[in-house]
């Protein structure tokens, strides 16, 4: 699960987490007692559909603003470790 979540959990935390997560999941299992037959799930509380805006060009803040917080950059690009080996 940690791999799926892209986390590198160390052994000590792994142990604490395992116990805590099993308590939490046991508690969450109480949801199985609820009769949800035919209930349409909701994913939000906004009650709006298809919020659209006019499709028009807006000025871009430009690379210096966009890249201002880049941990590593080369000219106008973000630098990341090797992706293709």
């Amino acid at each position: 699960m940690a791999h799926l979540a892209r986390l590198d959990v160390d052994d000590e935390l792994k142990e604490t987490l395992a116990g805590q997560l099993s308590d939490i999941l046991d508690y969450i299992d109480t949801l199985k007692d609820v009769n949800v037959d035919g209930v349409t799930p909701v994913s939000g509380a906004a009650f709006m559909n298809n919020v659209l805006r006019e499709d028009k060009q807006e000025p871009s803040p430009g690379p210096d603003v966009t890249l201002a917080n880049a941990p590593e950059r080369d000219q106008d690009f973000y630098v990341v470790p090797n992706v293709v080996k």
Partner: protein
């Protein structure tokens, strides 16, 4: 005159009459921060030079007769709101050095009125927590008793208001994060209807639950601050197009006709819950009598699925968090682990070094609940239970205008008491989080003080976009209840 004791409304009045200046007011708060924030630790970032510059600017605007409601009023911001050019950390190591290139819409609104942004307040990391103990930097202490937590996740904002480090503060509330710390610190906290206040520029935790709102000394200030903060924002697609009334009219309504004609509901499921402190029960009983004395009708109502709100919440919020926090991958901003020579390893190390244990815990719960094979049983089912909880409220509001409950099952607990036991910590949100699941507004108003000297709040919830009823009833209750003096120091 002790300038730091002024409410927003009082300060506005004196600034308008030119009896005080914003510079003097700002200095009074900065002096207190300087003296007492070593103990309270409400703030992550304070820039006195910048605050005084804003105060000077405000004084110039006032001198020119261009004053608006918040001109010159010193306000604290939870460190989850992006502030252009001022570091915004979310109390996380992953954003320790992050300097936003733009302002959150709410911040823009304060700036447009020349308010003074006095500091960025501490919080639980990424707003995940109920005690502010999950801050990666330090624990905030409750001004009423520094051995106790201020609540959370907006604990720094609530403590700053209670310690009178600012005239008011902005918090965010995903499961009670405005109301619960307000209750624990003896101040007023208002979570508006989902969509009432723009979330643009507010670092996302659980997007379908997050809402921005005021933490203030009293209900009048909360109404004024909501007037400023609310309104449709094209930059937030969930921002509501609803009209913004003048919320101070709720106060005028109370002055004119009291609370007559209002029906208040008490959910019977809440009365028999286990784990409620007897003093909270006594406070609630006496709050009920106070309200009856104001002429309301009180009814017992039912929220049949309320017992499942905590379980549903602790699936839905982590699911949304696991998706939202995937962006902190070390590529575009924030901390990056520089020792990895492989991209996936870089992601993993960056996150595990950058995020604290509670954040990682929630990311894992969310990833698990959304994973193939478990989605239907967890996220799917929780979303259905959320629909049932919404229906419960809809039915309940056919029978009453406001639903009453305590804010928290106990007064503020001791620092360290619940850190090792996240489930117990989650259960302390029992009264507040169904409000977020349903998207309705809720307010916390100080209602009493425990025998150990800690404040306790009363929660009122109302229909979608009916914050006006909360202001009216909250103001009435505030006037009727024995006045709660903030701790003197």
């Amino acid at each position: 005159m002790n300038l730091h004791t002024l409410t927003i409304a009082q300060a506005q009045d004196l600034l308008a009459k030119k009896e005080i200046s914003s510079v003097d007011l700002t200095r009074a708060f900065l002096d207190r921060i300087d003296k007492y924030d070593n103990t309270i630790s409400a703030f992550i970032t304070v820039d006195p030079g910048l605050a005084l510059k804003q105060a000077e600017q405000a004084d110039q605007m006032i001198a020119k007769g261009k004053s608006q409601a918040f001109t010159g009023i010193p306000v604290a911001l939870k460190d989850v709101l992006c502030t252009k050019g001022v570091r915004t950390t979310c109390a996380s190591k992953i954003l320790e050095h992050f300097v936003p290139q733009y302002d959150a819409t709410v911040v823009e609104k304060f700036k447009a009125q020349d308010a003074v942004l006095i500091g960025k307040a501490n919080m639980d990391e990424f707003a995940m927590g109920s005690s502010t103990e999950n801050s990666a930097f330090f624990v905030t202490r409750n001004p009423w008793d520094t051995d106790h937590v201020p609540g959370g996740s907006s604990g720094g904002s609530a403590a700053a208001v209670a310690a009178r480090f600012c005239a008011g503060a902005v918090g965010t509330d995903t499961g009670g994060s405005i109301r619960q710390p307000a209750s624990h610190c003896g101040v007023v906290g208002l979570k508006p209807t989902y969509g009432r206040v723009s979330r643009f520029g507010v670092v996302a935790y659980a997007s379908s639950l997050d809402q921005v709102g005021p933490i203030t000394r009293d209900v009048t200030d909360a109404a004024m601050m909501l007037n400023l903060m609310g309104g449709h924002d094209p930059k937030d697609s969930t921002s509501a197009p609803e009209q913004m009334p003048d919320f101070t009219k709720g106060i005028a309504m109370f002055k004119e006709k009291g609370l007559s004609g209002m029906t208040l509901g008490i959910p019977r499921e809440f009365l028999n819950l286990k784990g409620i402190d007897p003093e909270v029960k006594t406070m609630f009983e006496s709050a009920r009598k106070t309200l009856e004395g104001l002429g309301v009708t009180i009814k017992e109502i039912s929220l049949p699925h309320s017992n499942y709100a905590v379980a549903a919440y602790y699936i839905i919020a982590p699911c949304e968090a696991s998706a939202n926090l995937a962006r902190f991958d070390g590529v575009r901003y924030g901390y990056r682990d520089m020792d990895s020579d492989d991209l996936i390893e870089m992601y993993k190390k960056t996150k595990s070094k950058g995020f604290g244990p509670e954040v990682q815990r929630r990311i894992i719960i969310g990833t698990y609940s959304l994973s193939s094979g478990y989605y239907d049983a967890y996220y799917g089912r929780a979303s259905q239970v959320r629909a049932l909880i919404m229906d419960d409220f809809k039915r309940a509001f056919d029978a009453c205008d406001i639903i009453l409950s305590p804010v928290a099952p106990t007064p503020a607990f001791k620092i360290g008491e619940k850190v090792e036991d996240p489930l117990t910590m989650y259960l302390s949100d029992i009264f507040t989080l169904s409000c977020n699941l349903a998207g309705i507004p809720g307010i916390s108003v100080p209602a009493g003080i425990s025998s150990t000297g800690l404040p306790m709040g009363l929660q009122m919830m109302s229909r979608h976009f009916d914050e006006m009823s909360l202001i009216r009833a909250g103001y009435g209750f505030e006037q009727a209840v024995n006045h709660i003096e903030l701790p003197e120091f």
